[in-house]
């Protein structure tokens, strides 16, 4: 048989390497690759895609019954929930400060700080904290979260054009990582990265969230924006070469396919299996587009995605 030479791509850039966790916590390092996802023959991929599990500071009111069943009572106590998540294989915990949202309880600085403290002492894996998405509110609570976790290199989001200055300031002051979030647009993602670095945030303290959709709900579009970001970064543009975080669970479990049991064609099958597959497939697709850290909700999809990563990393 004639031998086939595999054509190799010559990229000039490299994804920045970002390490979460410090000050005695375990660490997780993502990024650092100089080729497209899992093309080991084409370059080096020093770090595997990391998997985090999302927990909330109050028992979720709108989660799929599949998720609530899987977690059971632990959702009533964030610290117990976090410990359980680590048992299920979470390499990092994403804490969603749901209760601080003006429509969800509007809790304040004290509560945000308290729950951060609690999670930090309950588990030793890196922490990611996401605010409410309401800029003014986040400007109030995120500085308190940051201060509580000072020196432990947590990641803090979301950081948008409206509030990036605040998030950047506290990340610099307390040694954390910022998560800039842009609405599915390469140029806006890059612009935000420019603003963050102009404000003095080191390039290795940024984990970007380009905003994604779930399988069947705009995944293709968000996939191609991620892919373009990654190719621009590998092409040498340092301001698009940040590692990517995707909040997969939130996207996937919002969809009808993941949470509705009644009134659907029989061929759709069992709701529980379907929901888990929905999350798993969304995650694996986004990993192919360049995701460096996927945030999941269901223990079983954590296991499945984990197994896929092991295979992909060869």
């Amino acid at each position: 048989m004639p031998s086939v030479e595999i054509p190799l791509e010559k990229w000039t850039g490299q994804v920045h390497q970002v390490t979460l966790g410090a000050g005695g916590r375990k660490t997780v390092t993502v990024g650092g690759e100089n080729t497209l996802p899992y093309l080991h023959f084409d370059g080096t991929i020093p770090n595997k895609t990391a998997v985090a599990i999302e927990i909330q500071d109050i028992a979720p009111a709108d989660w799929s019954p599949t998720l609530l069943k899987a977690w059971g009572d632990v959702v009533n106590d964030p610290a117990t929930w976090a410990k359980k998540a680590v048992e299920y294989g979470a390499e990092a915990i994403l804490l969603n400060l749901k209760s601080a949202h003006p429509d969800e309880g509007n809790t304040g600085i004290a509560e945000a700080k308290a729950v951060t403290d609690k999670i930090l002492s309950a588990v030793d894996v890196p922490l990611i904290v996401i605010g409410t998405g309401v800029a003014d509110k986040d400007n109030e609570i995120l500085p308190a979260v940051s201060e509580a976790a000072r020196g432990q290199r947590i990641a803090i989001g979301n950081c948008e054009e409206k509030n990036y200055r605040t998030v950047v300031a506290v990340c610099i002051a307390d040694g954390h990582i910022a998560i800039p979030s842009s609405p599915v647009d390469l140029n806006l993602a890059k612009q935000l990265n420019i603003l963050l670095t102009d404000a003095g945030l080191p390039i290795d303290a940024i984990l970007m969230d380009p905003t994604t959709g779930a399988l069947g709900y705009g995944l293709e579009y968000t996939y191609s924006v991620m892919e373009r970001l990654r190719m621009a970064g590998l092409g040498g543009d340092k301001l698009t070469a940040m590692p990517i975080i995707n909040n997969v669970g939130e996207d996937a479990w919002k969809q009808k396919e993941a949470k509705v049991a009644q009134g659907l064609p029989e061929s759709w099958g069992d709701m529980e299996t379907r929901g888990i597959i929905w999350e798993e497939q969304t995650a694996i697709s986004l990993m192919q587009a360049g995701s460096n850290l996927v945030v999941l909700r269901h223990p079983q999809s954590v296991a499945k995605v984990g197994a896929a990563i092991t295979k992909l990393m060869g």
């Binding site: 200055r165 506290v170 610099i172 002051a173 140029n187 806006l188 612009q191 603003l195 003095g200 092409g235």
Partner: protein, 745 residues
């Protein structure tokens, strides 16, 4: 640099260092070198930044009295000799060095006072705050960084009267500034004045009294230093970055009230190194050139000479000047009108049945114009109505109006006037129950009964324009003043003036050509859906969507330097005829994901500009006619090339470069640079009827300029030709010049 100021500052530095030196020796003898130094506020709140200004500037950690030796020596080494009476040299470097030396010495003095137990200062029954502790610094520092607080006002000395003191402080606070107080004039100070007037001071009220001497103001700079160390990611000792951080992010200034001594000047020189200018209410020399600070360094504004009807107005103007000199931008949280305001109301129509009053259209002239002025001639937030207001009209009345918007700004340019003026439409329409159409002297405004009943009056047009211009164009506009005229005679006068300005403006804009500028602008707005498309916008060709002209892009870049409109340096000319430049090609390559490596700006056959999908028109080659056709987005008819607009779009959209086809804005048809590579407008054989009508005047002129005054009549449209045969017959009959031009292919 003023020799007077230099001499004063250097003398002040000598005095302060001598004082520090003396105090140090005495304290050392009394307490020994191991006496502990800890900066604390009056509540006992500590700082982890040691003696912060010295720590930030030099990296030296001071924990004990003996540690002061090193910075004291450093301060001495920075001291230049006092200028001799008969020698003039540039002084700036020496003066700034003296300033820094003075700040070191002042912090050393405060450190020793802590050891002596006399800090924070107690005067009678009043305890000053002393330095700001870390927890408060963090709280305020974050807000300074993220812009919720613009900066701080360090006020030294004593105001003309207690009322003036209170007014100045309140004015600063109304602009969101923190107020830091120190110093005195013959023993009296703003702190005393505020106390006598019963004004509470402390962290809760955002007014911090540091101490009664000038030296205490060093706490303000220690605060600024710590903000840079905490939130700027700067390492101690990296003084350059600390100073730059403050210059660009902390909008602080010194306001010096009353006579100034050498120590005041020396301290002020130190503050200047942080980019903090000084504004003085007495007669002193100005330092107007910019450089170390963003704008002027020292501005003298003798209080009694400030124009104004009373001291209150003078105080207000004094603070306004401070805000302007430091470049602090005003943000207006809410448009203060009685009806609602927001984008939801933009498309609202006010119908006859609901009409309170109508201005313009058939009722008489309505005109709007925005002009820039010298910054000192404009009073920000001044709204005036000249003539009858809505109350003076009957329901449903129709009449005339002039809206005169006068703006000023440090970065405002004459060329931005039309860019901002066009926003009047957008802004006014945002008000509930107010409908705005047209522009310039064909403005048409309708106000609904509902808006009137809620209390809307003409003055609120001022509120709307003032708030929106500040909020959206704050980068170029610092002051906005609005006059609404409804007096018949005055409207007529203003209209005359406006017409002159429009004419002058049009002439100037016509003068901005591709050849007269060296920079074009890009637009990457559409890359979200057309990733490899990039617009290059030149003065003689507006963006293909028709929404962005070269001037718009330039203004957009001023406003948002990291935004989607970036400068494209033309670079070396490759072809004048085709409009090809090296700089443009390089930019296009780098910004099209390396998909496109060449753009010609005036050719459709060789490397034409790409299209996202928003173009107003599509141009296509008709080989048999030896020319091109242009179909508009609003034209749904069949065309002679067999493709309708929508069908053709699939070939030009999405960033594809297809020679012979190109998307463009409708006004490009009338440009001097219209496909000049292929022979210009004489190649145009078919043009959508609606464009012919809309741009009739301009097309006529373009035809005359091309040397064929009847050309437009020779160009077919949807009413005369929708097939190739019909087109050819029409062109033959009219004798279209394209038929006899050189072959395109």
């Amino acid at each position: 640099m003023s020799k007077f100021i230099a001499t004063q500052a250097i003398t002040g530095a000598h005095q302060t260092i001598e004082k520090a030196d003396k105090m140090y020796k005495e304290a050392l003898a009394k307490h020994g070198p191991d006496a502990v130094i800890e900066f604390k506020d009056s509540r006992g709140g500590p700082t982890a930044f040691h003696v912060p200004l010295i720590y930030g500037y030099t990296g030296i950690i001071i924990e004990k009295l003996g540690d002061l030796e090193k910075p004291l020596e450093l301060a001495k080494s920075l001291l230049p000799p006092t200028p001799s009476e008969h020698l003039w040299v540039p002084y700036l470097g020496e003066t700034l060095d003296s300033g820094v030396a003075t700040l070191y010495a002042e912090e050393i003095i405060k450190s020793i006072e802590f050891v002596n137990g006399t800090q924070p200062e107690v005067k009678g029954d009043f305890t000053y705050n002393g330095p700001i502790d870390d927890s408060q610094m963090r709280g305020w520092g974050i807000q300074l960084v993220d812009g919720r607080m613009p900066g701080f006002a360090a006020i030294l000395g004593c105001a003309k009267s207690n009322e003036v003191a209170v007014k100045i402080v309140r004015e600063c606070q109304s602009k969101g500034l923190l107020v830091f107080l120190a110093g005195n004039n013959n023993g009296r100070s703003v702190v005393d004045q505020l106390r006598e007037e019963g004004v509470e001071m402390g962290y809760d009220t955002f007014i911090v009294p540091f101490g009664s001497d000038t030296e205490a103001i060093v706490y303000a700079l220690g605060f600024a230093t710590r903000a840079a160390l905490s939130f700027g990611g700067v390492d101690a000792g990296d003084y350059r970055r600390i100073l730059l951080y403050n210059k660009f992010r902390c909008f602080a200034f010194a306001l010096v009230l009353g006579d100034m001594g050498p120590v005041d000047w020396a301290t002020g020189a130190g503050a200047i190194t942080f980019g903090f200018p000084a504004i003085c209410d007495t007669q002193v020399p100005n330092i107007l050139p910019t450089g170390v600070t963003r704008y002027e360094h020292v501005v003298s504004m003798p209080f009694d000479d400030i124009p104004g009807k009373d001291d209150m107005e003078r105080a207000e103007k004094l603070v306004d000047k401070c805000v302007e000199v430091r470049g602090i931008k005003v943000k207006i949280a809410k448009v203060a009108i009685p009806n609602s305001f927001g984008p939801a109301f933009e498309g609202e129509v006010v119908r006859r049945a609901n009409l309170q009053a109508e201005y313009g259209s058939k009722a008489g002239p309505a005109v709007e114009m925005l002009e820039m002025h010298d910054i000192n001639d404009i009073e920000d937030g001044k709204f005036e109505v000249i003539g009858p207001d809505l109350d003076d009209l009957k329901e449903g009345d129709k009449t005339y109006m002039a809206i005169k918007v006068d703006v000023a700004g440090r970065k405002m340019q004459k060329d931005f006037e039309p860019v901002l003026e066009r926003q009047i439409h957008h802004f006014v329409n945002g008000a509930e129950g107010v409908q705005h159409q047209g522009q310039r002297d064909i403005t048409w405004i309708r106000i609904s009964k509902g808006a009137f009943e809620k209390g809307f009056r003409l003055k609120h047009l001022g509120d709307i324009l003032h708030a929106n211009l500040h909020n959206q164009f704050g980068a170029i506009v610092d002051k906005v003043q609005v006059t609404v005229i409804t007096d018949e005679k005055k409207v007529a006068e203003f209209l005359e003036h406006a017409k002159e300005v429009y004419a002058e403006r049009d002439l100037r804009l016509a003068g901005i050509t591709d050849d007269s500028v060296d920079t074009f602008y890009s637009c990457a707005l559409c890359q979200s859906f057309a990733p490899t498309h990039i617009c290059v916008i030149n003065p003689e060709r507006t963006g293909l969507c028709g929404a962005y002209s070269w001037l718009d892009c330039r203004a957009a870049y001023e406003i948002n330097p990291t935004g989607p409109n970036q400068p494209v340096p033309k670079g070396k000319l490759i072809s004048q005829e085709a409009g090809e430049w090296e700089g443009v090609n390089q930019f296009v390559l780098e910004n099209s994901q390396r998909a496109i490596d060449r753009f010609t700006l005036y050719s459709v056959m060789d490397a034409p500009c790409t299209t996202c999908g928003c173009c107003e028109c599509i141009m296509m080659i008709i080989p048999e006619a030896n020319g091109f056709m242009v179909v508009s987005r609003d034209d749904y008819s069949e065309t002679p090339c067999g493709l309708k607009f929508t069908t053709a779009m699939s070939d030009v959209g999405g960033g594809a470069q297809n020679p012979g086809m190109m998307g463009h804005g409708k006004r490009y048809v009338t440009s001097d640079k219209f496909i000049s590579a292929e022979g210009g407008i004489k190649r145009l054989v078919w043009l959508s009827k609606n464009i012919k009508e809309e741009l009739a005047e301009e097309l006529k002129e373009a035809a005359i300029a091309a040397g064929d005054p009847d050309l437009i009549d020779k160009i077919a449209d949807g009413t005369t030709a929708t097939t190739s045969d019909e087109l050819m017959a029409f062109l033959e009959e009219k004798g279209h010049p394209a038929l006899t031009m050189d072959p395109i292919i």
